[in-house]
Symmetry: C2
Subunit: 198 residues, 2 copies
DNA sequence: TCAATGTCATACAGACTGTTCAGTAACTGT
DNA sequence: ACAGTTACTGAACAGTCTGTATGACATTGA
């Protein structure tokens, strides 16, 4: 007995309505009734599933993260050697499919709680990967992997934010990844147009 | 006829109360009455100054940005040549003084609106500086300055966020700046411990 | 088909919002 | 120090949203 179809229907509708409405009006401005109305569901039903709208947002985000995690797993395995850009590319693709949700999360809607869930999950995974990779290749990090992971994630998310907020059909994902890789390899100084330092 | 002392007193008290309370309970959880109570001010007075709590938060953030801008000006002038790290250092110092406010802004409290004010201001200024610098030194950026600025700011803010959230007396600001500079110059690959690529 | 379970409409108390207002206190410029 | 201006106070108001409870009804899965 998997999950009642009615339950699934309601939950999905509520989640979708939330995303739409947050994008339109912002999280705080929303009423539970706004959400149920858009989802075409009774208000009482909402409370049968979620404690409040924050709870709903948190679950939607958690689902997104779980999905992302699954999609990232093979890409991470593939880039065991070094910076291949495969995980980033996969994330960009995921973001293209779930664009609206990515937008509102990255904007910090909901007092930044979903965003923090997102950042923390990415940072944790990245730091772990950095450590493992350093060990595997027998190199000693010149900067604390924890901090390095934060920087790397911060940089990726900044780009991601920029990317999903573009209105015009923007740069293809592959192109964005190439830039990020260049930056990671050669540094910002090079990217600015200067010759690499001594 | 500057500004009435009572006005200044009330505004300041309300701003300070907001910061304290957001740090304790989060922005959404707050009531206007919570704020006025902490500030020891009548609720009616609040509405004499601000439309709602979002308005208050926005103004507090705007003031912070103005202050930061003033402090950054000389540092930016000093680093006209290249990446000296002076502006970042100055920002870290500012963040140390206004730690609580920085924390809540960077957390994305208030549906991320103050955070967006912050990010946009930094990104705009940085992009402009990049362009000017490239022109001054007659070099051609290898990556769109707009995007490069986003990345650079995203990276700085990730570090800043990490730094202001540390409980223990953390790394000195100068040390953090050194790391950021190394990263900017030599890239992440180097920081991970690998030798620079061909 | 039937028992279980989700959904619905409605109702409720309690809390918060944003506004108004008359009385009181504090401030500024002279 | 005074007078006129201006801000603060406390109280009251309707309107909105929340979270919970209820019994009737519809859909589901076995």
């Amino acid at each position: 007995m998997a999950e009642d179809r009615r339950t699934r229907r309601s939950r999905r509708a509520l989640g979708a309505a939330l995303v739409e409405l947050v994008l339109e009006r912002g999280f705080t401005a929303l009423t539970v009734e706004d959400i149920t109305e858009r989802a075409d569901v009774a208000r009482a039903t909402f409370y049968a599933h979620f404690r409040d709208k924050e709870d709903l947002f948190a679950r939607v985000t958690a689902d997104l993260l779980a999905e992302l995690g699954e999609r990232l797993a093979p890409a991470v395995a593939d880039s065991a050697v070094g910076f291949t850009g495969k995980p980033v590319l996969e994330m960009l693709r995921h973001a293209r499919e779930e664009r609206d949700l990515y937008r509102i999360v990255l904007r910090g809607e909901g007092d930044g709680k979903p965003l923090r869930m997102f950042v923390d999950a990415c940072a944790r995974a990245t730091a772990e990967e950095f450590r493992a990779r350093a060990e595997r290749n027998a190199v000693k990090p010149r900067i604390d992997p924890e901090l390095l992971a934060r920087v790397w994630v911060g940089e990726q998310l900044a780009v991601l934010r920029w990317w999903v907020e573009q209105d015009a059909p923007s740069l293809p994902a592959e192109e964005v990844v190439r830039m990020l890789l260049d930056l990671a390899m050669r540094g910002r100084y090079w990217a600015s147009g200067f010759e690499p330092p001594a």
